[in-house]
Symmetry: C2
Subunit: 338 residues, 2 copies
């Protein structure tokens, strides 16, 4: 299986992306990685590393995407950037399975949508990142930001796609799926939410558990949470922000008194475990569901371990035939005509 | 000053509400509290407590509101409930300043809107709860759930009302105000957010700091965050849920090994401090901004300390002349005609 790694764009790129790709080669014997980016830089970085040269290809893409560039400009003007070159290769070559990128989210979504396109029947692709729950499980949140505006039909599709992803790629049997809302009772929220509630009740592929309030996200009672991309983005980032800020405060408070430092020393292993537990780097990236080829977006701050995890997700998505399953499932419901 | 306390409806009512009201009398010598609810129960509860009888009035309201009753039904059918009786008294009597309730949010918003009405120029009232930030400050989130759908003009009004509240009631000078969005760059989000961004830039009363992502909420960099009631609700409850679940996990992990228990014992005082810090009971309720009389909603799980805090907020809102300030500020901008 061939997977493209966009090696420029994240905070720790290209090193993290290269190391993450090489580690993925160890995990999957049939994997070949295609690294996109400035060839001279990539060759220099690779020269110091041990790897199977037959399974690493370099695609020269010297252009750099700026932080504040508009996605539509990137697509038009940055065809030789590491991201756009990867997107075009993914579109044009049947022997390439997937793309992993830690670059600009907006450019990636727009590029994937415009250049790669949607699966048959999909209204709009959606992001589905994973968060750890307090009972040791994971929960998928779909959509986490690809679509700030949605319809009830889109929410239903997000539920179908995310359920199939959790079941076939993440190994969660019969994923319990909830609709993010401002209260648990049916009838809560705006018209879109009320309609989606009815649609989800009659969707065979989805194990619908009703409405969920955001405070329940981490309890482990749900495997998939369906939402518009605006509130999904707010949800994921506020969990992340709250965890980060609380750990920061804890650390600061521990260092304020010797007694606390001694206590914390006894609990060192536990705190390390908590830190590992709350580190999103260990839970992979945000997979884009509904595009006609597999695209995984790693967090901008991804280190090598996170990049490897993203490649693993992409590999498993392709190996599980997820996209064919999504098309088959969505075909049963009203088809979308543009 | 007379303030109504709806004594039935919260998890710890009526005891928490009664105790909270009596404690408020100690703090404000010119305060009289009017307790609404079943008179026999209230008299029995008060009989065992020491208080200034001249400053406590009992309003008999025997009807009980069920958890799953529709707000519109409550208004129509439960006129003798502790909440609706309080709302009607607040509307009819000029000598009553405010209402504090820990009952159903939906019924309170609808009751306040329909029976009490809006301030001149206000499109829709909005909730503004407070959360603690990591540098020891507070941040107000407006709207946190009264309006699941908004317009850009409403978002601008939320910003004006919440800024005036933070400045005049919470003592935050020149509150830095941000728009909740999916990214920091101008132009992010849907049309409503883009329009609101422009409106906020030209609103003199608001110290606009641009877009904010939810992960920054607790950093202390912002004093007011403006949002629609849907994503605001998601935001507030996910911060609460994440903090609660993390503390629960920490506690469980501490009890898993003797060594950790010893360590935690040394840090006992620190953990108590963290717990107190993250306990929303200490930050009061969600004030309703934009109604023609002061209404404060306490969390359903409010204990006496939280009820006292809510009464304190109501007292200060009235004493500061907040509503007159809001009317004056909004009069400068396009008036809303229904």
């Amino acid at each position: 299986m061939r997977i493209l790694i966009d090696c420029f764009g994240g905070d720790h790129s290209p090193d993290a992306n290269i190391d993450g790709a090489l580690e993925a080669l160890n995990r999957f014997p049939d994997l070949t990685v295609m690294l996109t980016g400035d060839e001279a830089v990539l060759r220099e970085k690779l020269a110091g590393r041990a790897y199977d040269t037959d399974r690493v290809e370099i695609i020269h893409a010297p252009q750099v995407i700026g932080c504040d560039e508009k996605p539509t400009d990137v697509i038009r003007l940055k065809r030789d950037s590491s991201m756009m070159k990867a997107i075009m290769l993914l579109r044009d070559r049947d022997d390439i399975a997937a793309l992993v990128s830690t670059g600009s989210t907006g450019a990636l979504v727009t590029g994937a949508l415009v250049r790669i396109g949607r699966l048959r029947g999909v209204i709009r692709p959606a992001f589905c990142p994973l968060l750890p729950t307090m009972n040791g499980g994971i929960v998928g949140i779909c959509d986490s930001g690809a679509n700030v505006e949605v319809t009830s039909a889109m929410l239903r599709q997000f539920a179908v796609m995310a359920s199939l992803y959790m079941e076939n790629v993440c190994g969660v049997a019969s994923p319990r799926t909830a609709l993010l809302n401002v209260g648990k009772e049916p009838g809560k929220g705006d018209t879109i939410r009320q309609e989606a509630y009815s649609l989800l009740q009659e969707t065979e592929e989805v194990h619908f558990s009703g409405n969920m309030e955001s405070r329940e996200l981490l309890t482990g009672d749900y495997d998939v949470v369906v939402c518009d991309g605006f509130s999904g983005n707010v949800l994921v980032k506020s969990v992340e922000g709250t965890a980060v800020e609380l750990l920061k405060k804890l650390k600061k408070d521990i260092f304020s008194r010797t007694l606390y430092k001694v206590g914390a020393l006894l609990m060192k292993r536990m705190f390390e475990e908590e830190k590992r537990f709350m580190n999103y780097q260990n839970y992979g990236g945000s997979v884009l569901l509904g595009t006609s080829k597999v695209v995984v977006k790693g967090h901008g701050s991804s280190k090598a371990v996170a990049v490897t995890k993203c490649i693993e997700q992409a590999y498993r998505m392709e190996a599980s035939g997820l996209n064919r399953r999504i098309e088959a499932a969505l075909a049963k419901y009203e088809h979308y005509e543009e």
